[in-house]
Symmetry: C2
Subunit: 274 residues, 2 copies
């Protein structure tokens, strides 16, 4: 019985409503939630349709759905608020105090202008993504000059998803270089990295977790043996220490946490707003 239906309603993509709602719902972990995202509700007519769905759920389940919404226009919000639900709209909650403090009226317009700002942001993001792909796994060391940060770490420590996330979320140019036996036998970083020491950021991971990840990929191999995994992690940490490379243990971190920590530790700027 302890299940509730959640609607994320937005005049745009719904990402902000989802972000808001999920953060709040983690605070109520004894209840199980069913989620419905309803994006692009840009007219009162579309909102009426959503209200019919909400009321239908309320009737069938016998409890009010909870609605997290990001609706800029008052008329659309008014329609939703007539539904048989708990409505938590986030413009509703925060626009008034902001207007007061900023001594100006908000524009109350749906969506962004899609002007030059958006094209700049879009281009930056695409360029950063292409950069991350081109500079993945040490493919093109000549691109290190363009990189804002160079992630280093052993295979499967999280470099590729982190560099892609930095590109897509923040427009940051992140290269990555995999530390392998070749580096460990030489006992040193390659020259291409030593000369760019101030851009390096290390990833590490607990041996047990890394073994598990590698084992799914290549079971029963030297690559996924505990001995090899422990060796690589130890050698990588020794290099981080020797060159003063800051690093993060990714074992219990989400990609957001890894990315945010890297920006915080390195001072690299966010080029995009989320």
């Amino acid at each position: 019985m302890n299940q509730r239906t959640i609607f994320f309603v937005s005049d745009q993509t719904g990402v902000t409503a989802e972000t808001l709602g999920y953060s709040l719902l983690t605070q109520f972990d004894s209840i199980s939630f069913r989620h419905v995202t309803v994006p692009f509700i840009s007219s009162p007519e579309k909102a009426e349709e959503v209200v019919r769905r909400i009321n239908q759920v309320a009737k069938v389940e016998g409890t009010k759905p909870i609605v997290f919404s990001t609706l800029v226009q008052d008329d659309i919000r008014a329609v939703i608020s007539r539904g048989d639900c708990l409505c938590l709209d986030f413009f509703d909650a925060f626009v008034a105090p902001l207007e007061k403090e900023l001594k100006t009226r908000s524009s109350h317009t749906t969506g962004k202008a899609h002007g030059i700002q958006d094209i700049v942001a879009y281009t930056r993001r695409i360029e950063a993504t292409n950069f991350a792909l081109a500079a993945d796994d040490g493919a093109h060391t000549r691109e290190y000059d363009q990189a804002e940060v160079i992630l280093i770490g052993v295979s499967r420590s999280g470099k590729t998803p982190t560099s892609l996330y930095l590109a897509l979320q923040y427009g940051v140019f992140a290269a990555n270089y995999p530390l392998t036996d070749e580096d460990f036998e030489r006992g040193d970083l390659p020259d291409s990295l030593k000369s760019r020491r101030q851009k390096l950021y290390g990833l590490t991971i607990e041996a047990g977790r890394l073994q598990q990840i590698r084992n799914e990929r290549r079971p029963e191999s030297n690559y996924s043996s505990m001995r090899q995994v422990q060796f690589e992690i130890r050698e990588a940490l020794a290099l981080y220490k020797r060159y003063g490379v800051p690093f993060i243990d990714t074992t219990e971190c989400s990609i957001e946490e890894i990315a945010s920590t890297i920006l915080n530790d390195t001072g690299v700027s966010r080029h995009l707003r989320p």
Copy 2:
């Protein structure tokens, strides 16, 4: 003078505070904002340090900074609220009505449990990202069976960033296939796509914008000529029409909008919460 400083303060990464704050600030486009993200404020002592920064800014600028925060713990929030600022905390605003409606107390704990749920989500995300990379640009058509959606479109219409975004944001397995002269000369989709017609989703883009993008990449080439660009777009649209492939014009869309529209149109589920 019309500039205000914004602090995003969080006990975690700050992504939620940034997402919420930026959505609200787009409503006040006559004012220019300076942004400072302060993540991982997990103790009252760290919060005191933030308050010193806030008060310093207030003193220098002569206006109150605006603080968007996502702070779960009451004691940390209490410290921030003593700063010389407008504090908009989003747990503060919404937890009380949720507790009332759900008839249960919220857990008031910072961060997530980092339990099995997180490992499942992390693994899904990494797998989806690796899948998008492996199934990029039609490299491995045998992977189409695993794909939840197959994006098709001409070169530089936005397939790769969109499939990576679907992977990182939603854990969705998205492959992509570039429509090229080979397909247009044959006047048909390849068999590997025809047999998976229900998974296809098309991207299109305005000729002027595509030419601009291609021209930055390969100036003065046939690839970036208006004639070639118009030809490819027209032929791609003809194929979408012939096979009833739903499609989106990406010209004025952000990657979030493209991704959200695809999920909405196809009914593919989000596997991850944002």
